[in-house]
Symmetry: C2
DNA sequence: CATTATAGTGAACGACCGGTCACATGTCAA
DNA sequence: TTGACATGTGACCGGTCGTTCACTATAATG
């Protein structure tokens, strides 16, 4: 199938690009790993750069699906513990889903070379996370679970350290267990600091 | 001078590597920008990879000088405002010193390809900052400027968001002004949350 | 002053890169 | 059965890569 091959090429390209970067990847290497001659690739993509653009298109679409619409947001937790649990589920998912890990690596590596990668990197590593947790914290304040404060500032203060540890996992996978434990400890610390004694 | 040329080569290599990555940089490009024939480079370095290693050596040494010994630590602030000022001075320095910016970019780009870059990246982006602020916060607790708490957790909660915004500046320099303002706002927020009402 | 080491040049190398082409298949509608 | 189209192959192209080499200019040394 044409669609099949095309997707296999994109998948293999993501793998290679995220490991060795765009410039460090050659077409022979990843078509060979598919058992395909490199010339066959050119039936599906006009050039190496077009693969790159298609990958970015895919990543943009994927991001839009998962984080684009407000109705996709996770529900506001009912207890502080539920926030921890929700956070840990998200972290577990984002750390162990190989495609997402490779996407983060790719954006990390190429953010200074490509404008679209740059914008996506800022979304993935900063604004997306803050934008996701701002309404959550706002809702938790309404429920009396968190002290009244600027919810966006709290979202930033909450997600940035977690994001830093996720990226540590990307960089040093052998530290994943320790990093996850640290994220949970931080999440509980956060609740201890910002939480109200008793729900109102 | 031999030493001169060697340093010029390293400086130019840092510039190019941090922009286009190791694989994306070719020797002709950066020797030409020095007004040097590429063959002349081989009088000073045996190979492209040796330039890379020399750069990492330099970065390791530089990092060790500035962050290695405990006596190089900034003094414990006497007031909450002094913490903000000290933070902003550090941020201003680290954002506007071109060599440091390029070093961060280089480590960001190459952290998945090279083991030494990986270790340095973790130091630069995570453990170094936490290790620097842990004793500071510990001292501020002693002075009654901060609530008693785990100083390392506080250092992590303080430095990770700031680090995220510094990296935003690396990625999108046109957002520098806004990011710096945001760092200051976060620093003041942090003090409001963790600070004591009155120094003890 | 002759010698020697140092720093630089430009041409050339083999390997590898992204990309093209003529050609071989397989599939399927007419 | 035949023709058309989609898909894949391997040889090949020009260009660029990192690296080498014979050679030159310079400056210090005996």
């Amino acid at each position: 199938m044409a669609k099949d091959t095309r997707e296999k090429i994109l998948s293999s390209a993501l793998e290679q690009f995220s490991q060795n970067g765009y410039a460090g990847t050659n077409i022979r290497a990843f078509t060979a790993s598919l058992g395909l001659a490199k010339s066959a690739m050119y039936r599906h993509f006009a050039s190496k750069e077009e693969i790159w653009n298609a990958l970015l298109d895919e990543m943009t679409a994927y991001y839009g699906e998962r984080f684009g619409s407000p109705d996709r947001l996770p529900p506001v937790p009912d207890t502080p513990e539920a926030l921890v649990q929700m956070t840990m589920r998200m972290v577990h998912f984002t750390i162990h889903d190989e495609k997402i890990v490779m996407t983060r690596k790719l954006l990390t590596i190429e953010q200074f070379r490509d404008g679209r990668a740059r914008d996506l990197a800022t979304k993935h590593f900063l604004t997306g996370l803050t934008g996701m947790f701002t309404p959550i914290f706002s809702g938790m304040m309404d429920k009396g679970l968190l002290r009244r404060d600027d919810p966006e500032m709290l979202a930033f203060a909450y997600t940035a350290p977690i994001s830093a540890l996720i990226r540590l996992c990307d960089r040093e996978p052998e530290k994943t267990e320790a990093a996850v434990a640290r994220i949970e400890a931080f999440s509980r610390h956060f609740i201890r600091i910002y939480g109200t004694e008793e729900p109102a």
